[in-house]
Symmetry: D2
Subunit: 343 residues, 4 copies
């Protein structure tokens, strides 16, 4: 039984970790911290956990996680780097669901996150936790940087094409759309129901923090030129990414379909739909799955890839548990075999 | 392993049965029928079932359910009564998620459903499948009438008060609100996103088919006079019922809380919240649970009970599986221990 | 041309005042204040006003409203009472869209609002701005307390019945439902899309600030005993109130319909629908209208009244402009004749 | 006073025409037809029109429109072509809000709409009613083909770039998103709240009927190669199009902003926002306006244009009235100066 600590359990990734771990047969959450809710039962803040968790939020200052095997950070970016070195020193593995260890270059990190990284030496050690490219490294890692939600959806769609070298890396476009939960559970005006209900918009076109993260992974394959535009959808969960790439030479849709099928044939959490399918975000609501579909409209030279995930599951907590399973030598899908809630 | 047949698997209660049964350790869906989708893989219509079901919809005319132990009807009302007698004769148990066997009086049924019942003799045999009042009868039943969604939410809130005899049965009010999925998955204008999105209304105030069903159960306790007003909420899942009753004499909120706690202490799927709580429908999204809370505003003589369920789970498919477990002598909560999806 | 000042223009009632006044032929907004947005163009914060307003938010400390005839407070409760005495002294009329002057009893106000009123002497002078009962007084008023959104919907439904003396005042029930904009445009967790989307709940059952306001107006007719339960609907605009009252003696639905029709026959903003209608909140989206419908389900002794308004219009900014028109001797419907946005 | 007939008044473009024309000072709707609702008062089907319209739906077979100056078709595609020749012969001008006259090539029309055009000779005469490119022709037209909603949003965003010849016409991408009302008010499963609520998806990637329409207009400027992917957003109104184009040579964002500003400086219904703005669909809810914003992320060679409209207004009924005003020599913005409903 793996003993788990969760730091920052009052946000959406926190409650999602608790939901998924409640039915994990080999993991036991020992402790959940919160500065603001210390002393309150977890299931009072999140009544869906009544009957599933008797934990009480603990002040992080009062907790040393000594009895934990793995600690998850479900905190805003900039928190995990404060205590990760001590946890690692104490022999505790760390999975950070925030961005503290996602970028390799300290200067790039500092620029995009607007603060100075306090343990830049760990940036190199940290393994980027996308199992579909880094499974072996994750298995051996002490510190895993769980990918961002947009990067997960975008990378899984572009990777087969880039790895096969059949698209023009100089002109990639990712038009991505996310539900409100991606903005987190924090007091703000911009994600009020009254502000974002019944409306749709692009945001952060000039530069989103997930942009350098996506580029870093793609550039490791081929140097790319990517345009990434995120949008806000008036719904709670789900990311859809529509990806556009120009074929370098004529490749049929059937060949591309085969390419995807082969690339992901052993992946438990990638589901390549038949060509010309239209995956909906609800197909994966609540589950650790990425559904992909490829198109080649009007037989032109532009390939369109559709990619959907639940931003809180394959885009956050579910992928973190997938990484935990890999790091703990458990079956990779343990605790992650639920069926999506449709409708 | 119980062998299951589902008749009418293309609606919301059908797909919800398939979702919940996919993870049930002692039930196996053998066959799913559909007149309109015969020949199509179930997981093509409902892509959340990819990887969880390889069934193909079968024309009901081609299927005799001979290898099934239990058949669920997830059809519109008026269908189950056509073939239930034959199924029972063949030794197959039946759980009807529609309304064909919910009312005891043939004339009342004919009046509210606008057609003539074809097997009225079974109305009396059928057990009303609300385990919280009929557990023993369900265990022995061949034919279970699974309760309506509104009746489930309303009955569970009123029953402790009525059974204790502390409220004026002559003046009960149930103000109930439902998400769109309660109207089913069928082509219609009134439940289009464009029609019911961003709007709220009462409907069927003059008389809803669930009205006689609620009255029938309550009247078995005490003759009641109930006003029932259903409303449509711009969301997919969930029912909230706000119930109003006048105290016959002074009873403190604490005593009422105790009454509810005691009445439901052994019930696995009733969760009585602390007094003055405000249950939200999302607390039970996707799970077989009814959350209840009692209030006595301004210490007046009016008691307010708040009741929330997921209309597709405790209000339909989940309760049907709960009944199946009882009928099959399995642990009542088998396959029904998931955690609600919040947010 | 009436010259208008708006104090606190960054909330939903503020932007709604600006929207409605933009097309008012006899009113001109001179100034809009905001502490937090001073210096920013109004149409930058609210891009729907591009081309309709060139105003810039002004710091309230820098503004004396000397060139205004009427000042609207679109602030949180507790602000208007600070400067209303000075404005009145300067000969400027005041319409407060918040609650500072809605209650007559100082002790009641202090209890429900949790602070001490600073100008309790004005509580008596202030006219409660519900034109359907106070038109003459509003016309002569210096200070109008614009009604709350719930009180508007509830009062307009109960008043004809109470005035006619045909219902039991000892057992009134108002089950009211509101969209998210009723909670205002302020940073908070509870009204995030992620929190209140796709969910429904009752709230403040123990006591909502609109409760004493409703009771005060009803008690002026007959001493009442009211149970009021507000609920939150996952939509932006709209209030629906379902009202329940017990008939003292047999009165037919037709007579009740006639009673409503007669009571409101000269009211420009009350629309009594045919009996047994089901008004939807979208019918009045964006307009200053209350739609009412009466029912008597199962010919029982319980009358059901359905009442819908747009909480930001007839429940706030529209009613305020209606009051302004009355106070300024303009046609009562000037600037308020738009058509609701459906769908 | 222009006398108006509306054929097919029971859909969303029909009710939107009625809403907008209710406040038009120089237009009077004389007649509204419907096959299915003949005999029913318009304001019974659409209660937002109570007090604004006393019309009754008339069977189209009973109506010859002899007293009309202009007839709007708010019908599904394939209807207008049946009676347009007769109307024109009778000296009545026609504005078709459907697609019957949008394409110039008969064979292309027949292919995309799956039926044979019955008056292909009129395809050439019909003027494509996008005033921003065809104002002079519209003024003289007898027959106007009102543009599709997607084409309006996409064309207005691409035209300045294409006309200036600064982008690579061989690689245009339009990623467009629409609310549910774009699918019309007709019984269907796919646009139920239960199906499309809380979910997001691309659809018709292989080919949408608006694709040849967009290409036809763009090709008139330069031969283009366009990839067009529409998506469905869980909201009622609004289209957002995110457009991607590759610069042929270095042009600064400021120059592009200037280009747009100049191109649209005299346009009453195009609002070019400051560069790097993020227009939201709610900014234009209910009004005849297109808001545009240009971006050049990471100073790369890819220009991003954001375009938002209300699909039922600038994308349908509002643009039709704009065309009517032009055809009738009225001020182009008459009846179209409302303020968008935000929130």
């Amino acid at each position: 039984m793996i003993k788990i600590g969760i730091i920052g359990g009052t946000g959406y990734t926190g409650v999602e970790l608790l939901r998924l771990l409640a039915n994990h047969p080999q993991a036991q959450v020992q402790t959940v911290t919160s500065r603001t809710q210390a002393g309150k039962p977890v299931n009072e803040l999140f009544p869906n956990l009544r009957g599933h968790s008797d934990l009480v939020f603990i002040d992080p200052a009062q907790e040393n996680f000594a009895d934990c095997d793995i600690v998850f950070f479900a905190t805003p970016s900039g928190i995990a780097m404060q205590s990760t070195p001590d946890l690692l020193k104490a022999g505790i593995k760390v999975i950070d669901l925030a961005a503290d260890f996602r970028l390799k270059e300290e200067t790039v990190w500092n620029k995009w996150y607007g603060i100075t990284h306090v343990c830049p030496d760990l940036l190199n050690e940290a393994v980027y936790g996308l199992p579909e490219i880094n499974r072996a490294e994750i298995a051996k890692a002490r510190l895993v940087a769980n990918p961002g939600c947009y990067p997960t959806a975008v990378l899984l769609g572009f990777l087969p094409l880039l790895e096969a070298g059949i698209i023009d890396a100089e002109h990639l476009i990712a038009d991505a759309k996310s539900g409100a939960s991606g903005a987190g559970r924090k007091a703000s005006i911009s994600t009020l129901m009254g502000e974002m209900g019944e409306s749709f918009k692009a945001y952060a076109v000039s530069g989103h923090r997930h942009y350098p993260e996506i580029c870093q992974v793609l550039n490791a394959k081929t140097q790319v030129n990517l345009t990434f535009v995120p949008h806000l959808v008036p719904m709670i969960r789900g990311i859809e990414a529509t990806l556009y790439a120009k074929l370098l030479h004529d490749v049929s849709l059937e060949e591309i379909q085969l390419l995807f099928a082969k690339r992901y044939q052993d992946e438990p959490f990638i589901d390549v739909l038949p060509p010309k399918s239209h995956p909906e975000t609800r197909n994966v609501r609540g589950v650790n799955m990425c559904q992909l579909a490829v198109h080649r409209p009007q037989e032109s030279d532009t390939i369109v890839v559709l990619s959907v995930i639940d931003n809180l599951v394959k885009g956050a907590a579910g992928q973190a548990i997938q990484n935990m399973n890999i790091m703990s030598n458990l079956p990779e899908d343990m605790g992650l075999t639920g069926v999506a809630l449709l409708p």
